[in-house]
């Protein structure tokens, strides 16, 4: 286990994505999250590492579980948490993203958690504020805390990460969860497979370091983990699949298809689930295989770890010197 005090040396001001993180940073965050799993199971769950700090949840895209997860994470660390749900539709344009950022920045938050429907929007906003920014999902780009909580769930259940064979199945094209997971699992030494119809795979996806399958039965052979993704109907504006009935027939996870994976394989899902579309209720509710509820629990712990790490990052001349030598300059 990495010494979590090393995380004071976490190189960035923000967590915008898994891309760019090194193995020790990822594992360090997971180790720190373990501590918070324990804390969250106690009667008194409250810590004080974020006492006096202000955390603002800025969600341009609706979310229940992720926003609730971050809110709880912040409060359990003692922070003052404010939730801002910004309604953006093509009809009500209103204030631009940058104007919102500048306005909030003037109120001196310490941590901003941002979700937006456009790839790159969180990075754009992070450039305009002085506080730490956590990406809670931007378009089809990244959702780093989801990948971290998925990894923690896998590691706790299977005892390791390195060498695991993980299948990610479903709507990869529109999924930031898939991308962040691909980056993380490759970094920590897992083998990643994608299973989807060609219409739901991003072009040139093999270049991300994955094996691609179009049939569940083939793709699930020997897999330790089966990660199911939601069909993102709200992001689809064209004809990607003929019907959800056919989709479930070919790509929905049921007992029969799951049997092709390794015995004891984990079934994961970032939620919310479309029962009967990508996953059968029987599989989703089977406590022997499904860790979907556990993922939610790990989510709060991982987010506490991230908030704690970013908030505790102290200015460090030694670290800046080291970064200067290693990377050719200070990092934000």
């Amino acid at each position: 286990m990495a010494d979590t005090s090393d995380l004071l040396a976490y190189r960035f001001r923000d967590l915008l994505g898994i891309q760019g993180l090194q193995v020790w940073e990822i594992l360090g965050l997971l180790d720190k999250a373990e501590e918070f799993v324990t804390q969250n199971r106690k009667l008194d769950k409250k810590g004080a590492s974020l006492k006096g700090r202000t955390l603002i949840n800025l969600f341009f895209e609706p979310s229940t579980r992720t926003q609730a997860s971050f809110e709880l994470a912040g409060k359990r660390l003692g922070a003052d948490v404010m939730n801002m749900a910004v309604r953006t539709s093509s009809v009500n344009k209103g204030e631009t993203l940058i104007d919102t950022a500048i306005t909030l920045n003037a109120m001196h938050p310490d941590l901003l958690v941002v979700r937006h429907s456009c790839s790159g929007a969180v990075e754009l906003l992070a450039g305009k504020v002085d506080c730490a920014v956590i990406n809670a999902g931007d378009g089809a780009n990244e959702h780093p805390t989801q990948a971290l909580l998925d990894a923690l769930t896998m590691r706790r259940r299977l005892g390791r990460l390195e060498g695991l064979r993980v299948a990610i199945c479903g709507d990869i094209l529109h999924s930031r969860v898939a991308r962040s997971n691909i980056y993380l699992l490759n970094t920590v030494g897992c083998g990643v497979r994608l299973i989807a119809p060609p219409t739901l795979l991003p072009p040139h996806v093999e270049s991300l370091g994955v094996q691609v399958f179009h049939r569940m039965e083939e793709g699930l052979e020997g897999c330790d983990v089966v990660m199911m993704l939601r069909l993102q109907n709200e992001r689809m504006d064209g004809s990607f699949i003929p019907s959800t009935r056919e989709y479930f027939h070919l790509y929905g996870l049921d007992q029969a298809k799951l049997a092709h994976a390794k015995p004891g394989a984990l079934v994961m899902h970032p939620g919310p689930m479309n029962r009967g579309v990508e996953i059968d209720s029987a599989v989703a509710d089977d406590p022997k295989v499904s860790v979907i509820a556990e993922q939610v629990e790990m989510g709060v712990a991982v987010r506490m770890a991230v908030l704690d790490t970013l908030a505790q990052r102290r200015p460090s001349p030694e670290r800046d010197e080291e970064n200067e030598q290693k990377w050719g300059g200070p990092l934000p």
Partner: protein
């Protein structure tokens, strides 16, 4: 406006004018300008292949003489101003074949006046104006409006293209004959693409009757729909929907098949992918009346320049991969591509300072057109005369203009170019109202130092105070770490 006509300088005085070089007056009105003799210039005339040291005499706003012997004009019976070219290049003024301005309807982004000042600073003496304004230029009265506004406020020539379909709705042909009579130089859908093949067929057939040219931006809306950048590995990594190359080539192939069927004259307003180049080569081999253009940003940049979601690099058609860029350069060199056009598309911060998916497409380009071409000459991708050919005589021939040449009797629309002058491109110093350029802070070499329209100086680099005040971030060739705010 008319009191801004530049005053003629006193006898024997060195140029430039005593009045502001940025006169907003008509270049065709008022007294004929004082004769000018350029000596010690490298004359380049891509129309004839002339590339030699010599001189050029301008009288009554037209080219009076061009010769390798014109070193020191003696015995001229009239007063004239002599400009020593100092061995710099004197070429026909550039013709930029695809320029969008905001007049009428979006004057805050760009007026004809500001576009013309930007053009002059870039050595462009003729702007070919796109009709996708608000209202659309699909009526003779609106063509006339543009002509009058340009005459009253622009310092370079403005030749408008008219809409190919009424309202740019892609359904009903516009009144091409009436539009042409009113002064429309060609027909286009601007930044839009005609989806209906029957409409394109009829338009090509009908345009033949008036020897009209159709300039088309080729993009299949369904294949490209929702796309934000070139489809490929980088788009996947950035989580952005891609526009596949086939979205362009499928319409190019369709249009070329219709040209084959109808014999109408066709110009592809931008080519950006190999598949289109293949189709164009085949069409040209068969002798079809087709031509095509490429943009400077497709010659100088690739999709990686989008980097971390830079919206100034968000263009329609999108920047492609590096190997495609090299293919385009080769096609330009070989003559498969006829014209380079900037596709100047001014966009304000309210359209660009947004998340990438929400930002508008488009970049300005009037002031970077020539420097980018000169950069390609520097890096030996093309030679100077070929580079200038693509922005002078090639568009002139396609559009039936008599400019773009160093011809005796032609209007003296000229650019004095220093191909070696180094500078750091600073978008904040652009003369256009909008500053959305992907070339900000790019080190460039070569630019126009003087621009003349009808024998009148409309731009003089030596007197361009804004650029010189920028000091160390500009024109001594030194790059500074930050540009002025």
């Amino acid at each position: 406006m008319s009191d801004n006509i530049p005053q003629d300088p006193p006898l024997g005085a060195p140029f430039p004018l005593s009045g502001s070089p940025f006169a907003a007056a008509s270049v065709l009105q008022g007294q004929p300008p004082r004769p000018i003799a350029f000596t010690g210039v490298r004359l380049i005339d891509p129309a004839t292949g002339r590339d030699e040291m010599g001189g050029l005499l301008i009288k009554d706003g037209r080219i009076e003489a061009v010769s390798s012997d014109l070193y020191a004009p003696e015995g001229l019976s009239f007063d004239y101003t002599r400009i020593d070219g100092e061995d710099r290049v004197l070429a026909p003024g550039l013709i930029d074949m695809t320029v969008t301005a905001g007049e009428p309807g979006a004057e805050h982004k760009e007026t004809l006046a500001s576009a013309s000042r930007s053009a002059a600073a870039g050595g462009v003496t003729t702007i070919i104006l796109m009709p996708d304004t608000d209202p659309v230029i699909d009526d003779a009265a609106l063509v006339d409006f543009i002509a009058r506004r340009a005459r009253d406020t622009a310092i370079v020539r403005v030749e408008p293209m008219a809409a190919l379909t009424q309202g740019l709705a892609g359904e009903q042909m516009s009144e091409m004959a009436l539009l042409k009579d009113a002064g429309a130089i060609a027909f286009t859908e601007g930044r839009k693409s005609i989806a209906n093949a029957r409409v394109m067929r009829r338009a090509l057939e009908y345009a033949k009757t008036i020897d009209g040219l159709i300039a088309h931006f080729a993009e299949d809306a369904d294949l490209a729909g929702g796309g934000l950048m070139n489809e490929g590995e980088l788009a996947t990594r950035l989580g952005l929907t891609g526009i596949p190359a086939v979205a362009e080539s499928i319409i190019v192939e369709r249009d070329l098949a219709l040209v084959n069927l109808t014999g109408g004259r066709y110009h592809l307003s931008q080519v950006t992918c190999s598949e289109s180049l293949v189709a164009l080569a085949k069409a040209k081999d068969r002798g079809l009346p087709v031509s095509c253009a490429v943009t400077p940003h497709h010659l100088a940049l690739n999709e990686v320049d989008i980097a971390t979601y830079r919206t100034f690099a968000k263009t329609k058609a999108p920047l492609r991969s590096e190997d495609v860029r090299l293919e385009l350069l080769e096609a330009l060199r070989s003559g498969l591509i006829d014209v380079v056009a900037s596709h100047h598309d001014p966009r304000g911060p309210e359209e660009k300072r947004l998340p990438y998916a929400e930002a508008a497409f488009g970049t300005v380009g009037l002031e970077s057109l020539l420097p980018i071409l000169l950069g390609l000459v520097q890096s030996e991708h093309i030679d100077l005369i070929r580079a200038l050919h693509t922005v002078t005589v090639a568009p002139a021939r396609l559009l039936g203009l008599d400019s773009g040449r160093l011809k005796i009797g032609a209007p003296a629309d000229l650019a004095l170019i220093d191909p070696e002058l180094p500078f750091v491109f600073n978008r904040r110093l652009l003369k256009s109202k909008s500053k959305n350029s992907p070339f900000d802070r790019r080190h460039m070499q070569g630019r126009a130092v003087m621009t003349l329209v009808g024998g009148r100086v409309v731009y003089d680099f030596a007197r361009d105070e804004a650029l010189h005040e920028a000091g160390g971030a500009g024109f001594s060739g030194e790059a500074s770490a930050g540009s002025p705010a």
